[in-house]
């Protein structure tokens, strides 16, 4: 059994929380005492049934205002798969929280209200999905009960969405007509929409390919920690601990250590009390090298025959996440895996109006702004392009005055 992490984009009005509530409810993932707490709550649907949306609103302010402010993580499993849902707010003022939720997801569910069709926020949410490089997209046309379960309405909406998907280069899009409120096509197949021949949302989620851990074949391991017991019997023990970002390391592979450029060979791979022949993407291991090279936290061990980019000037997409605007005159910290160095945003190439997808020149980035910039780093980073290798192509910006995470960066090109 494996894990599928997905995130949901849509606003309260689209019935996003109701959809998640429905998934949990119909898969029997809500326990009796939680249901009892729900029943005690005075938020009910018009017909007196439990408002499933309350299940996902965790904070007092969210319950009071009836909106989702921050990402909530929900967990459920079926016999086939474990699911982690990042329930993200859909409103434009919480775009950064949507980006946060999307950053670890392998699949996105985009909700469209059947009564309204493709609207401004559908474009915004879909843009974020493409920006964050999420491979699979499920477009749920919700509230089908409000449009008499009409196939014509459904077909017209997906016709419009297909144009958007093409524009955003979303390759793998699946469309499902649902009613989260009534339960049609969420877990159980709809009895009213006989014209729909596809699967219910849950069945699709159970089956979709999760080839997500190993998209890139390039072997990369950032060193997080050097294990040196310094005991009598392990006097010379020196192991490099880290998580394999991508690809595979085999014993006897030739490797390069960046930024020093030192060459060596994998001598041994350990995982606690086991010795492994190979370590694959996703695994947290300890690697030993044949040669005594100087390696510390922040260095990256890579396959010698497939080196990453190494520059101090990088073209990247930036999502600004702080209430204080970007200041191109000051230095920020950039954190790329275990490496931290100083940087400046040396140039703003353009900003994207995420409601219309139009690009325009800009002097400043404010909260929730997204666009293309040039980052200039103090030390060179050993990175891959985001589209090739999500884990080694992303970084965050930290404001050293406040220590807040203020920006998310997706590397698009090395600037020569």
């Amino acid at each position: 059994m494996n894990i599928l992490k997905f995130f949901t984009a849509g606003s309260v009005d689209d019935g996003k929380s109701t959809l998640i509530g429905r998934l949990l409810y119909d898969t029997d993932s809500i326990l009796a005492d939680q249901l009892e707490a729900l029943q005690r709550s005075n938020r009910k649907n018009d017909d007196g049934t439990i408002d499933l949306a309350i299940l996902t609103d965790g904070l007092r302010a969210e319950r009071e205002q009836g909106i989702t402010i921050d990402v909530a993580y929900k967990y459920f499993q079926t016999e086939k798969r474990k699911f982690i849902i990042a329930d993200t707010p859909g409103h434009i003022q919480y775009t950064r929280n949507m980006v946060t939720g999307a950053s670890t997801a392998n699949l996105a569910i985009i909700l469209i209200d059947a009564r309204n069709g493709v609207v401004e926020q559908t474009i915004r949410h879909s843009y974020i999905v493409s920006l964050l490089g999420i491979k699979h997209v499920v477009v749920c046309i919700n509230k089908m009960d409000m449009v008499d379960y009409s196939e014509t309405v459904y077909s017209s909406i997906i016709g419009k969405y297909k144009i958007l998907a093409q524009q955003l280069k979303l390759a793998d899009v699946t469309y499902i007509p649902v009613s989260a409120l009534k339960g049609d096509n969420v877990v159980q197949a709809s009895e009213t929409m006989q014209w729909y021949e596809g699967e219910s949302l849950l069945h699709f989620l159970e089956k979709v390919d999760t080839d997500h851990l190993d998209r890139s074949q390039l072997a990369r391991m950032p060193v997080q920690w050097v294990v040196r017991p310094q005991t009598e019997e392990l006097h010379d023990y020196r192991g490099y601990a880290g998580r394999i970002l991508s690809g595979t390391f085999n014993v006897n592979d030739k490797v390069t250590v960046l930024p020093s450029g030192a060459s060596s060979v994998v001598e041994k791979i350990e995982f606690f009390d086991e010795t492994l022949d190979a370590a694959h993407a996703g695994q947290s291991v300890i690697i030993h090298l044949k040669d005594d090279v100087d390696i510390s936290r922040g260095d990256t061990i890579v396959n010698a025959s497939a080196l990453p980019q190494e520059t101090k000037l990088i073209e990247a997409d930036l999502c600004w996440m702080d209430t204080r605007a970007l200041d191109t005159s000051i230095m920020y910290n950039i954190q790329h895996n275990s490496k931290v160095t100083k940087c400046k945003i040396s140039e703003i190439l353009h900003k994207v109006d995420i409601n219309t997808l139009e690009k325009h020149a800009a002097e400043v980035f404010k909260l929730n702004d997204i666009g293309r910039v040039i980052v200039k780093t103090a030390d060179a980073l050993a990175f891959d392009l985001y589209d090739d290798n999500r884990a080694n192509g992303s970084a965050i910006l930290v404001d050293t005055r406040t220590n807040l995470t203020v920006g998310a960066l997706m590397f698009r090109a090395a600037v020569e």
């Binding site: 059994m1 967990y75 993407a281 947290s284 220590n403």
Partner: protein, 301 residues
Amino acid sequence: MSTYNFDYLDELEAEAIHILREVAGQFEKPALLFSGGKDSITLVRLAEKAFRPGKFPFPLVHIDTGHNFEETITYRDQMVERIGEKLIIGSVQESIDQAKVVEQTGKNASRNALQTVTLLDTIAKYQFDACIGGARRDEEKARAKERIFSVRDEFGQWDPKRQRPELWNIYNGKIHKGENIRVFPISNWTELDVWNYIRREKIDLPSIYFSHERDCITRNGQLMAASPFLNMDDEDVVERKQVRFRTVGDMSCTAAVESDAFLIDDIISEISASKISERGARLDDKVSEAAMEDRKKGGYF
């Protein structure tokens, strides 16, 4: 698709090890908060996997309410002996003796809330900049919102409205002096995941997790272990019951469930079929809908 076998427990484990190593790499004085419960026992195993054959780069810290299940303390001491790591104890009794907190009175008195003061004092005394805890997002809806690296201000407070964005697997551990970060490596695990992991790893647990006979009383619909720490009166009827505990906390606020689960397989079947959440047996969460959110804002685990 790669052909190697990497299932959900492997993935959760690898993520937790990565987080623990980030703590080691980013902080000067981290600590692992150890309660003697199954989640913190799981953390210890994960720390072994992250750092062996080296030593842990942090001590274990137990915030001791003094109202413990004896079995937990025995377990704790044996475990510390086995792994050869340092244990620091923060004592709620000491906080009471120093008049920093006042013991609750009345029938439902518990030391659970007092722990926060002792925890914050212990953090200040040893100047811990990161405290690793075993909280999980599936436990409770305020926890479902919390980051893996969760900043606490100088007063130990969590501000749910001002959480830092946490992207990809990059954790920002930068803090100002006086602040600290709570780190939750098993945020993405469910109760069932923890049990399946304990089974797979053959991890020993305190005996109170398994079915045993015990004197209990019924309070507010919950079974409580009869103990000197519980304020009992004539209305309380002591009954001998076959029970086990799903969580291990202060004796005065942790309820038992009737159970015949003697083995870990029995427990896993029991939980899989259960219709009550784990924290349903915690009186501390029943106070109000925002009970956990409020305690976390005040500096709780």
